[in-house]
């Protein structure tokens, strides 16, 4: 049985490596900028959703306010660069660290809340921050920040001629988020998180420090999401409160994991791979008229998948190896 388990872990790693190689080679065949853009977004949301999944899926603390960390990552990077000339790479680390700290601070206050009270608190905190950024003149207020373009450079993480560097960064980010999840899944933390999600009282009786588990999950989750936000700021080179901290980001982080399979290793990847291209394609091909067909398709899909496959799309693949994963 141990062998089976180890074999499964190895196979997951192997499949991930193979997928990463295939993805890395994709630009050889995909020259279309529009399609490249979709690929970048898909990878980014895979990474974001994978990170969201750590707190909400594994640890069971459902956050619909992760846009907060995404926005903090984006703003920290952009503001440090604009105001103090700090390179985006350091901004990324700063944004991640700041977000992790804030996540723990908020967790300290919110982790005693249960169920919907917790979910609403996460939404409301993100909304308050959004409104404050709207009114914060130093940070560009509602107009936002135009990140000055100083030419293509890895040092400044800016690329105007080709999107490929962004593509590769998004790929690395998705791989990192996946690998962190893979690694944590079979660790004390991973087990603690799942125990806390399923039954905090029983977890406590088995020596699990419930509060610390949640704090750990919040910190890791927020850090990675903020790095995603930093990336996004560089990628679009213009940010304003709505476009990096709006509620829709909280949802777009949650949906791939939920539809793919919440609390699973592959759920976010699978969900993002299906959902993001679908969103983008319906938006540009049928939704272009602004008549909402994209929303209808998208919403129907969410209803049907969540009703028909409560364990997410991964359950279609995992039936042969037991419903567990």
């Amino acid at each position: 049985m141990d062998k089976n388990f180890a074999a499964r872990r190895r196979r997951d790693l192997f499949v991930a490596a193979a997928l990463a190689v295939i993805a890395a080679l994709a630009p050889l065949f995909v020259k279309d900028v529009y399609v490249q853009n979709i690929l970048i977004l898909t990878l980014m949301y895979a990474a974001l959703s994978q990170s969201w999944n750590i707190l909400s899926g594994y640890c069971g603390q459902i956050s619909l306010g992760h846009a907060l960390y995404f926005g903090l990552g984006a703003y920290t990077t952009a503001l440090l660069f604009m105001k103090f000339g700090v390179l985006p790479w350091f901004g990324m680390l700063a944004g991640g660290t700041l977000s992790a700290l804030i996540a723990m601070g908020l967790g300290y206050l919110c982790f005693r809340l249960r169920g919907h009270y917790f979910v609403i608190a996460t939404i409301v905190i993100a909304e308050i921050t959004l409104l404050l950024f709207h009114n914060w003149d130093w940070a560009g207020a509602a107009l936002g920040i135009d990140i000055p373009v100083r030419g293509d450079s890895w040092l400044k993480f800016q690329f105007t001629r080709s999107k490929l560097p962004y593509f590769y960064f998004a790929l690395v980010l998705a791989c990192v988020a996946w690998f962190v999840t893979w690694w944590l899944e079979d660790s004390k933390w991973g087990f603690w998180w799942r125990a806390v999600k399923d039954n905090p009282e029983a977890a406590e009786s088995l020596g699990v420090v419930v509060f610390n588990s949640k704090m750990g999950a919040a910190a890791v989750s927020a850090f990675l999401v903020a790095v995603g936000g930093s990336f996004y700021a560089q990628f679009v080179s213009y940010i304003d409160p709505e476009s990096v901290m709006g509620f829709q980001f909280s949802l777009l982080m949650a949906l791939p994991a939920v539809l793919g399979g919440i609390g699973t290793l592959w759920g976010p990847v699978l969900g993002a791979a299906i959902l993001i291209p679908l969103t983008e394609l319906t938006r540009s091909f049928i939704g272009g008229s602004g008549r909402g067909v994209d929303l209808i398709v998208y919403g129907t899909l969410i209803v049907l998948i969540s009703l028909a496959l409560p364990r997410g799309l991964v359950s279609l693949f995992s039936s042969r190896k037991g419903a567990a994963r």
């Binding site: 459902i62 609403i120 905190i125 709207h134 909402g292 049907l304 969540s306 009703l307 409560p310």
Partner: protein, 293 residues
């Protein structure tokens, strides 16, 4: 400047708006109290109620005051159908039940928004002329907008009726029984599906009522629900999830806090006060003001 009059004036309008918020939110509380499900399409229920009111006015020149019962009746049917077609199945989910409930109703919300955009276009609409629209009444030097005033009175009446309904009927007993113990409905021998469908119908009808009033003085557009949905969730959570009369109190608090915030902070920050009060309340009482501890 902040004169006593200005303060009283804004508190009075805050109170009226708060009563209306209570009416908007109570359907949510009712459904949650009955079956522990949060309807994430609640805002969209409000949105289609407003559209229904608008079109009854535009095509048949029915004043919102008269169409309110019609809209409520239509919403009753709509709510029951949503239960029977979606929520009933969501409740049977064998895994991740909470998630399934959240995202199946959330998916419905997106579909409804899409349909509204498709059929009604994203344009902003309003009802230009109605019995109450744009009129104010002056009581002791305080100006009260008539639509909000009528809405507030309607809200009080609706809560009164709801109180009688919950205390005097089988449905009310079932509601109480399920709140105490989710398995109790089956024991009492009540058909669960019927009670739940009735609950959804009633919840939606109450939204319909508030939608008809809102349509008098608020713009109508496909995303209008989203702006009120969060307020409705906060209202219900403030009162304590599932407590119908908590929603009433929650609504009043939200209305007053919003009005007070608007006096102190720039208008774009008026919601910050509501959110901050929500956080403050749940940090002290994690289950809301009237929720069971």
């Amino acid at each position: 400047m902040l004169t006593a009059e200005a303060i009283i004036q804004s508190l009075a309008s805050g109170l009226l708006m708060g009563l209306l918020y209570g009416l908007i939110a109570v359907g949510l509380a009712l459904i949650f109290g009955l079956m522990d499900v949060v309807n994430f399409a609640h805002g969209e229920f409000l949105m289609i109620s407003m559209y229904a009111t608008f079109f009854l006015f535009a095509f048949f020149a029915i004043d919102p005051l008269l169409s309110a019962p019609l809209v409520a009746a239509a919403m009753f049917v709509f709510g029951a159908v949503v239960y029977l077609l979606i929520v009933r199945f969501a409740m049977r989910a064998k895994a991740n039940a909470g998630m399934v409930q959240i995202f199946s109703t959330f998916g419905l919300a997106i579909v409804m928004r899409g349909l509204a955009q498709f059929f009604f276009t994203p344009d902003y609409r309003s009802i230009p002329q109605s019995a109450l629209g744009g009129k104010t009444i002056s009581i002791a030097g305080i100006f009260l907008p008539e639509p909000q005033l009528v809405g507030a009175l309607l809200s009080i009446a609706a809560f009164g009726a709801l109180y009688l309904f919950i205390n005097r009927t089988d449905f009310g007993r079932a509601l109480e029984a399920t709140r105490e113990d989710p398995g109790a409905v089956a024991l009492v021998g009540i058909d669960k599906n019927r009670v739940f469908a009735l609950g959804w119908g009633l919840g939606a009808a109450l939204v319909g009522l508030s939608g008809a009033i809102m349509a008098i003085f608020f713009y109508i557009y496909p995303d209008v629900g989203a702006s009120f949905a969060l307020i409705a969730y906060v209202t219900v959570a403030l009162g304590g999830f599932g407590s119908v009369f908590g929603a009433f109190a929650g609504g009043i608090i939200v209305g007053l806090v919003e009005a007070t915030t608007a006096l102190i902070l720039p208008p774009s920050l008026k919601s910050v006060g509501i959110y901050a009060v929500y956080l403050l309340v749940v940090f002290i009482r994690p289950r809301g003001l009237f929720g069971s501890m």
